[in-house]
Symmetry: C2
Subunit: 168 residues, 2 copies
DNA sequence: GTTAGTGCAAACCTTTTGCAGCTCT
DNA sequence: AGAGCTGCAAAAGGTTTGCACTAAC
């Protein structure tokens, strides 16, 4: 959803569009990244040095509770904070590299299907769905293999090392 | 994975099976529920009143890092703690009712497929996948409709009330 | 002019860390 | 015997709350 969409939605509900909220909405929407509360706070301070961290938390909570943004964990790669993104029409998975932290988004028809299956199977009414996938990106697979190899080389006795090398 | 499987796996790695860890492993495996650290700590204390909360956290971290248990958020329904379950061969989604907190597990072929798609699409190596779904269970949909209706009846002026009733 | 929203300080909850002492193998 | 674990205390990290003041509508 665009900032304008969110703004409209909030106005309709009689939620006040304060200066602080405008700043935060712009940041969430523009960045295109997945920001956490602290990062958002730092960015917001550049535009309004008086803004308070608590206001950031309160705004995020409000946006989440009104269903305008989605909250992500990103496999807790960066710690236990939450990340936020404006709610998309299309569901997608977040694919995160557990070595470099890069996040990719994956869209597919699997999500709609899964939703339908669950609604049918349990008579459940789905409101939010979150799929997060952790592993190694193409780039880091190579680097990691190298790291592991070095670790082995550094630790193992000479005979084992010679055997291990044969593969290369 | 069964407790025995976990025990074997730990032994093979030279990890010590202390009294405390035995207790915790049994609890995680037996309960069949999704326990968080605090709950696990409380249950463990019934078997060993001297066990420390920190030991629970350390054990969970170890089991998670060695890939023997999975960590869940369950949509943060109960707060920001994590929940744990022994790692299953089969992937599944956790479906949680945002009103009563009941958790269902949903198995399907969609997960394997998604995994393959992501591996092919990004050249990504998937290690962990987590799908969490929030909404209302069949039972709570009814209760919630009732609640909303009552809220409207209590708030709206008489004329609006009369109009709203017509649907019933 | 009201009432929702903000800032500040302080609390809260979950999890981690440092260190001395205990225990499993 | 000695590395690996535990318990205790304390700190860290992320988020929420109470309250008096401010500003959006």
């Amino acid at each position: 959803m665009s900032v304008e969409g969110i703004r409209d939605s909030l106005k309709r509900r009689g939620v006040r569009l304060t200066r602080q909220r405008q700043i935060l909405l712009d940041l969430i929407d523009r960045s295109g990244q997945h920001l956490d509360a602290e990062r958002l706070y730092q960015l917001a301070r550049e535009k309004d040095s008086k803004i308070n961290r608590v206001t950031v938390y309160r705004t995020l909570k409000m946006l989440k509770d009104t269903g305008l943004v989605d909250e992500l964990d990103l496999m807790h790669f960066g710690g236990d904070q939450h990340y936020y993104e404006t709610r998309m029409k299309q569901e997608h998975a977040h694919v995160i590299c557990l070595r470099c932290g890069k996040v990719e988004e994956f869209y597919g028809d699997a999500f709609q299907k899964l939703r339908r299956q669950i609604e049918n199977h349990f008579g459940f009414h789905v409101l939010i769905a979150r799929t997060e996938i952790g592993g190694y990106c193409a780039h880091c697979q190579v680097l990691r293999a190298r790291e592991l190899d070095q670790a082995v080389t550094a630790t193992k006795p000479l005979e084992a090392r010679r055997v291990a090398r044969r593969k290369t």
